[in-house]
Structure formats: structure tokens, C-alpha cells
């Protein structure tokens, strides 16, 4: 709310500034009517208002800068004759009027830039808070997970002993014992998920074929896919070079994303899995600032998993990567899937986004760097671990 207000206020402030300057111009023209050229200043002052407003849109800041430069040129033209000893055609008051305009135009451009920086800073701060929160949750879950494993082991061994001893048990008893073993296995899987979230291990990087990793992940979910009649359309780019990956962890990412797609579709539908090499153009997160993840012109592998499900409700989009956020029924998901995915991808110095497709369905996009100096990996692993 406050942010929105602040965002609204910036152009208003710029407008107020330009109006003030305009008022100054009018005053100057009224006070010294003999300085006819003040009309020029007046006209340029009027032209400044749209320029100032435009300055607040990134793509128009170039226009406002050009206008500013134009005004500087105008000023020089007005200043030049007296400098070269020619009698001044432009009376001095004009300068007093023109100068503030220039200042305002330039500062307006800066204001826009400052505002963008502020927004980015805020986003980064939020991320930091989030990662701090995740870290303590991670530590806590790791502690709990380890503690729970011993009792689980006891139940498992006990169940096995009973199964062996109750040789003459009826079907129901045997079924119950089997269910107990299955329950332990399920609890173990959940704990495995918690632990892989808790940043226990680093990466085990090896040169890997990304498409093969995707194919293996697809094999793992084949049974699930067949069960609910979901078709997979593959569009894997064979030109993707060998990447340094922790194959097992990256598989975990793809399996998670595929399982999400399967659960979203429910029954009958299709999933499109594609991989490609792309060269990044400047844009969000791609630039030369410290906060930018990639630099323009960088070559990356882009893996996309699109589903024909109902898509993600607007209100859930911001919470998708929060640990323990889940819309799946109790017992179906821990809400750690995407949080783990993001952690793994970021340890690989990549990025992941999940959102809605145009039209229908959701899509997950994983971006992985193709070039990466070795030491950067350690840095990324360290920062991803917190």
C-alpha cells in the first residue's frame, strides 16, 4: 500500500516541480516583459511536462534525456553570442528560467532510476529475509528429521519381526503389518524431502547431458503419467552442450516439476517438455548491475515444462516457493517441492520461475548457465546455503 502510494507520488512530485518552474518562468516573463525570448522558455517549459511524465517510464527515459540534451543545446545557443563578444540577443533572465528546466529534466530521469533501484533493493531485502527464514526452518527440520529416523527404524524392525513370527496370521493381520511397513517407508520419504530441503549436502557436480537428465526424470514419472492418461510432448534441443550438473539433484527438480504438472492436470491432458539454448537479451534480471543475475548476451539452457491444467490462481503465485505452502490434500505433499527445486537450481547458479501460460495451464521455466567459472560455483553454493 505504502509502496503503491510512493510510486504514485513520484510522477506527481515531478509534475509539481515542473509546474513550479513554469510558474517561475511566467513570473520572470511578467516581471521583465522586455525579455521576449522568455516565450521560448515558456514553450519549452510546457514541453517539459510530458517529458517529465515520460521520464518515469523506463522505455521513455531516452526521450526525456534527448529533450534535456535539446534544452542544453538551446542554452548554449543562447549563451554563445555573449561569450564570443557578440551583443547578447538573449537577456539574462532567460537563463534563469531555462536552467531549472534542465535541472528538472535531468533529475526526473534520475528519479525514475532511483525509484527502480529502490524497488529492486526492496525485492532483494525481501529475498534476504525469506532466505533467512528458510535457513532457520531448514535447520529445525533437519534436527527433527534426524530425531525421527531412530523411532522409525524401531517400528520397521519391530514390524518385520512380527511379520516373521506371525507365520499363521490371517490376511487382515498380514495386511496391517504390511501397511505399517509402507507407512514407515512413506514417513522416510517425507523426511528425505525435509532433509534435502535443509541444505544438508552440497552439489556433486559432474559433466552431464541435460536432455538425458530430463529423459531419466520422465522415466521416473512414467508410471504416474500412464495412470492418469497424460501424454508428454518432448521438444529437446540436441545442441545443448554438456553442463556441469549434480545429476541426481537436478533430476529431483524435474521430477518435482513434472509431478506438480501431473497433479495439476489430474486426468487426461498433456505436458510439454522442452529444452533449448538461448542468448539472453537485456531485461528483467539481465543486465550489468550487481542485482542482475545474468548479463546480456549470455548463453543459457532453458528448460520448460508446460501443462494443460487449470493454471495457478493469482493469489497463490507469490507463495509458490514458500516452504510448506501446498494446495495438495493433507498427506499428498509437504509443500517443500518447489522450495527445494529453487534451492537446487540456485545452487547451480541458475533460476527458476513458475507461472501461468497464456491461455490455459501453468509453466515452469528453469534457466541454467552454459558457461561458468569453477570458483563461481562455490560462491553460489555458499550463498544458496545461506
Amino acid at each position: 500500500m505504502v509502496d503503491r502510494l510512493a510510486a504514485e507520488l513520484v510522477p506527481l512530485r515531478a509534475l509539481a516541480l515542473s509546474l513550479l518552474t513554469l510558474a517561475a518562468a511566467i513570473t520572470a516573463a511578467v516581471v521583465s516583459p522586455e525579455t521576449l525570448l522568455d516565450q521560448e522558455a515558456l514553450a519549452s517549459g510546457l514541453a517539459l511536462i510530458p517529458a517529465l511524465l515520460l521520464a518515469h517510464h523506463r522505455r521513455w527515459s531516452v526521450v526525456s534525456t534527448l529533450l534535456g540534451v535539446g534544452l542544453v543545446a538551446l542554452t548554449i545557443v543562447h549563451l554563445a553570442p555573449p561569450l564570443f563578444g557578440v551583443s547578447p540577443e538573449v537577456p539574462i533572465p532567460t537563463m534563469f528560467v531555462v536552467a531549472p528546466y534542465i535541472a528538472v529534466v535531468l533529475s526526473a530521469g534520475w528519479l525514475g532510476e532511483v525509484r527502480r533501484y529502490q524497488a529492486e533493493l526492496k525485492a532483494t531485502q525481501l529475498q534476504l529475509i525469506q532466505s533467512d527464514k528458510l535457513d532457520s526452518i531448514g535447520r529445525m527440520t533437519a534436527g527433527i528429521a534426524h530425531e525421527v529416523k531412530n523411532p522409525l527404524m524401531m517400528i520397521l524392525v519391530g514390524t518385520k519381526i512380527l511379520s516373521k513370527r506371525l507365520v499363521n496370521a490371517d490376511d487382515t493381520t498380514r495386511q496391517i503389518l504390511q501397511d505399517m511397513s509402507d507407512a514407515v517407508a512413506r514417513a522416510d520419504r517425507i523426511i528425505g524431502g525435509l532433509l534435502s530441503y535443509s541444505r544438508d549436502g552440497g552439489l556433486d557436480l559432474e559433466p552431464a547431458d541435460l536432455n538425458a537428465t530430463i529423459e531419466t526424470s520422465l522415466l521416473f514419472v512414467k508410471h504416474e503419467l500412464d495412470k492418469v492418461q497424460i501424454a508428454v510432448v518432448k521438444d529437446l534441443d540436441p545442441s545443448i552442450p554438456t553442463l556441469k550438473l549434480d545429476g541426481f539433484k537436478m533430476q529431483q527438480v524435474f521430477i518435482n516439476l513434472l509431478m506438480n504438472a501431473i497433479h495439476a492436470i489430474g486426468q487426461d491432458g498433456d505436458i510439454r517438455v522442452s529444452s533449448s539454448v538461448q542468448t539472453l537479451a537485456a531485461g528483467r534480471g539481465v543486465g550489468y548491475r550487481r542485482t542482475d543475475r545474468y548479463v546480456p548476451g549470455e548463453r543459457v539452457a532453458v528448460i520448460r515444462i508446460e501443462d494443460s491444467g487449470p493454471g495457478i490462481p493469482e493469489e497463490h503465485l507469490s507463495k509458490l516457493f514458500d516452504p510448506f505452502f501446498t494446495t495438495k490434500p493433507v498427506g499428498r505433499g509437504t509443500g517443500l517441492g518447489l522450495a527445494v527445486c529453487r534451492q537446487i537450481v540456485e545452487m547451480h547458479r541458475g533460476s527458476i520461475e513458475v507461472g501461468n501460460r497464456e491461455g490455459r495451464g501453468a509453466q515452469a521455466t528453469v534457466i541454467l548457465r552454459l558457461e561458468h567459472p569453477e570458483d563461481d560455483y562455490e560462491k553460489a553454493t555458499d550463498s544458496a546455503r545461506g
Binding site: H146, L152, I155, L156, I161, K164, S181, D188, G192
Partner: protein
């Protein structure tokens, strides 16, 4: 053929008791249980096991150090040692066979049949 001698070191009394029972009843094993990590080395010297199942995190001893001490003993240096631990997850290892400090491990909760299978694979009793 003599029974396979297994030393089970785990401070979790109930787990050790149950697992020992399972291995004894179903796996043709003679199991010696030691719940105190600090007494494990002495127990190993005396029992001369074919295989040692060793917990890592124990209140009075650290399994890693114990394993190193055991390997340094002339009578134990050829004894197969396998960690039995809640420290790692099976899926954290990718299901593959990895090691902790150069020694193999079984991640808790492990199916006792899997322990037996491991013993079958690694312990060959002569005579």
C-alpha cells in the same frame, strides 16, 4: 559352517535389541550388542566379529573415531565395518553406494532384510 559374527554398536537400546533378534532369527548370525560407544572397541577385540554395524552419533563416542581406532587394531583391521546411521538419507545418496569417511553405510530406517542382504554380500565364513 559357523554362524556369522556381527557386532552391533548402537546406543538406541530398543533398536539394537530388535535388530539383533531379527538377524539372529532370520539370518544365521550370532549378534553381540554393545550400547555404549565407549565400550565398543573392547567388545570388538573380545568378540572378533566378521562385520561391525556401527552407529555414528552416540552420546559417549563418535562412530567415525571408533571406526578409525578399530581399523588401527591388528586383529580388527580386516573386519568389515558398516555405519548404521540416521545422519544421512537414502535418497540423499541417490540410492547409490556412497561412503562416509571411506566406509560404507546403511541409512536408518533400514529394512532389516536389507541389513541381512548386506551381510550376505560381505561376509564369507570359512570353515
Amino acid at each position: 559352517m559357523r554362524k556369522r559374527r556381527i557386532l552391533l554398536v548402537d546406543d538406541e537400546v530398543a533398536i539394537a535389541r530388535a535388530l539383533a533378534m531379527y538377524l539372529t532369527e532370520n539370518g544365521d548370525c550370532e549378534v553381540c550388542v554393545e550400547n555404549a560407544g565407549s565400550a565398543a572397541l573392547a567388545a570388538a577385540r573380545q568378540f572378533r566379529p566378521d562385520l561391525i554395524l556401527l552407529d555414528i552419533v552416540m552420546p559417549d563416542a563418535d562412530g567415525g573415531t571408533l571406526a578409525a581406532q578399530m581399523k588401527a587394531e591388528p586383529v580388527l583391521k580386516h573386519t568389515h565395518i558398516v555405519f548404521l546411521t540416521a545422519l544421512v538419507s537414502r535418497n540423499a545418496t541417490g540410492g547409490g553406494s556412497k561412503t562416509i569417511g571411506g566406509l560404507p553405510f546403511l541409512a536408518k530406517p533400514v529394512d532389516p532384510d536389507a541389513v541381512l542382504e548386506y551381510i550376505d554380500q560381505h561376509v564369507v565364513v570359512r570353515g
